[in-house]
Symmetry: D3
Subunit: 195 residues, 6 copies
């Protein structure tokens, strides 16, 4: 099996306590340790900042974006950035959150053909603009998004999630980070069947 | 549920006999009718040419490309062309042929990170060149491919499969062709579980 | 003189009867055998499917696209795909059909500057979108085309012709298919002079 | 007939003497007045600088580039810039200089498939780099060109001709400059036939 | 004067203590508060993660990249991303670190023409690849970088700094973050003159 | 110090009289000889045409574009073409003409974020279109520009300045033309300080 990273991957026991504790907590909740936790642990200081940023954007109760919509942004932009880890791992989370087994593949391949709402389509149109040509953002983007009910802080959320996972995509592409096998199937079949 | 095509989809009973017979045969073998057979049947003459071309490239015993490798070409180039139908449908076939539940997602997202052989990597590098900038093809491509054991007819196969599915991708994108739900899961779990 | 293909070109006498018959018929009508008939005959099964597809799209009486307009689509998209064979051969046919000696060069180089109707300009704008970024096709394209009197089946025709010649362009680029010398001049001067 | 420019085109009698004299001289030599002389005469000062630059690059006896090769550069780069006027007008001159009725179309559509020498292929590869991404020029380009016998002043010539016609292409595209009908056929048939 | 952000900018007195303390410390050291500290403070949790990541990559003593080289990476990639804030602010820091008043403009406009070492040129070539097409990264990149003495952790540093400032560029472009006027001149003239 | 050009740079005393006289006049006015005058003097005939064209576009009293606006066009398009010489040299002139020390960096990096008028924004939008995709220019561009008060001759000016400096950018990139050190600081600080 391919290594999970081109870089040395530390063993759990050799990690600083805070990293190990969070990793064990994730393992308990998810049933396995997503490889990003181990691959990035090669650099504990960066790991901590990465997780703090992740939590600030995804673990919060403000704004109108649902948890599923945030994952849609991640999957769509990671598809454009051709990041295997993020498309597969966040595709799994997206399926679980939305309880729709098909939506992740649709959004990753071509969000224009995905079975999502017009509001979500506009959200992803903007996310792709942030991803590919953020220097062209101007007031016209806000106008288009407000027409779908997004406010300025929602716009910040869309852009910041896109920007943060653009960072994540580049790290995953550089380290050749390998998605856990478990992610590929997660959310595609009723829970009973996969266990 | 979204329609399978923006165009009228004929009913089986209204189709010319040869179309209906083939469709029924596919249904018997696969367990359902892949939507491409119905969506393209809006134009029977084109349908016949399409299927004849398909068979000439994929149902044959000459050349060194395995059936799985031909599907890899389809999945990788359909990913670049962002064709939902072909990535999902041929991703399923690729999983089934290769008996590898992960390979289709890997090839669709970024073949450079897929768990394939160096020969397959070279095959897909060339397929993407045919897909994206065929006008730059020259002798250097043949040299690179021959170094991996491909002969001139294999090179024709790689290019022709890419070219034919470039046609297919554009038709699917134009008609907004919807992949059958069954494809998304096919080849991901042991057979017993999906039935 | 450069070979007409990088691949072996069969002699007429060695071809299956159906290929030879059609080729002789074309020769009788046109005065020479267009090289595509010989170059693709390296693979008879693909040849048959190719010609069947070609005829299904170009030899038919339905739809509002004129024969000249179908050739415009071929020439404009082959120009974008930088396919020498198709620009030269179909440029000749376009000149003959339209009886306009300048239109093929105009459409091949930049259709926006060609002396064509606004309806034809819109038709070619859409053809180029199908050619270059078919994944972005959506309802707005149909709206723009319907404003010029195109119906849904015309839209299918524009897209399918573009898609089929995208296949043809890639095959011609891969085989380094050489246009017959005769095509370069055809339709540029009154008939009497070229014989 | 379409106007030769979106801008007012002065009449010969209203032009400054030096412009009119050169235009009459060209007319006497060529048999007609190429539209660029009239379209750019809307701005006499720019006209003079344009013609002086043109002559400095094309009417000179130094360097190893033949007159035909200089026209090849113009045709290939004008093709990339999609400039109707320059492809058609300089395509004609290229055919006349090289006495090859096919070469202009080949170079304009895809120089990689043109029947030219490897040295000319390298020359055009570099011209396209100057045209499309001059910021990436570095010492490796000179090495590749010197291998084909080009010296530093030839390299300047290739780059300067490309750069000057990049200016010309943009002016022609902006003014919608119309090529004279005569150019389309020039050099395609033996002289006797066209008169 | 243009606002420093499209979003509300909190006043120092309204900020959480940890943000205010760091901001006051920067102000004391630099003589002014760089706008990024205020603009991002609209979201304190994200601010903290951003600064922690920044420090993990830029305030450290491991690896062979000098502080000036890290700023070169930021300036070159921010130039490609067309981020006004980062080019101007980090251009200033680059000039100060390198004590070279010209280097920032050179690196921002075209690093191939900058007066830097071949090792730095290779470093920036890789940074731009991470910035623009990280999915194409493979072993060949490591080989090229190791030839200049970079080890695997240097490669991680180059990639991670590029990735992090890609995030920063997108945030700055989205918020229309305004660089402080002071940055434009900093490091261009001997210190005495600017005070 | 890096040479000012990859090509031999003639000494003033060896130049034709007209070149030397103009160069001395510029030196007297500016305080130094901008390197473009020396680097291009390698080819006196081209030098003369270049300067004549330059003067025809920039030293004139017709049209509504201010001298500063013409320099904005040069800086913005040279930024897109990644031409170090022109961004630095004309950035200096732009600062001097506009008496705004920040505007040149803003326009070079991203004119959409520059502190310029909406009319100037529209002017630069069009200039970038001429620079990057002049073949797409059509009547819609004139409509947009006229809405900001530009007339047809202003449009010619914007396009011609863009086109001419596209030529200049390519020459500078090919010769690796080095901007004079003086330009980097010019216009950034009150005059007294720089002398």
């Amino acid at each position: 099996m391919t290594a999970i990273s081109r870089y040395p991957v530390p063993e759990l026991k050799d990690l600083p306590d805070d990293l190990r504790e969070r990793i064990l907590a994730v393992q308990e909740k998810t049933g396995f340790v997503p490889n990003v936790f181990l691959a990035l642990a090669h650099r504990p200081a960066e790991w901590r900042a990465f997780m703090a940023y992740h939590d600030a954007l995804l673990v919060k109760s403000t704004g109108s974006l649902t948890k599923g919509e945030r994952e849609m942004i991640i999957v769509a932009t990671s598809g454009v950035n051709r990041c295997l880890y993020c498309v597969v791992a966040h595709g799994a989370i997206l399926r679980v959150y939305e309880k729709k087994p098909l939506v992740a593949d649709q959004v990753a391949i071509n969000h224009r053909k995905a079975e999502i709402t017009p509001r979500q389509r506009a959200m992803l149109d903007f996310a792709l603009k942030v991803c590919e040509r953020s220097h062209e953002i101007d007031e016209s983007d806000s106008v288009a998004l407000r027409a779908h009910g997004f406010d300025d802080d929602d716009i910040w959320d869309i852009a910041a999630i896109t920007a943060f996972f653009g960072l994540s995509n580049r790290l995953a592409n550089m380290t050749a980070m390998r998605p856990n096998d478990e992610f590929y199937l997660m959310g595609r079949v009723p829970k009973a069947k996969t266990t």
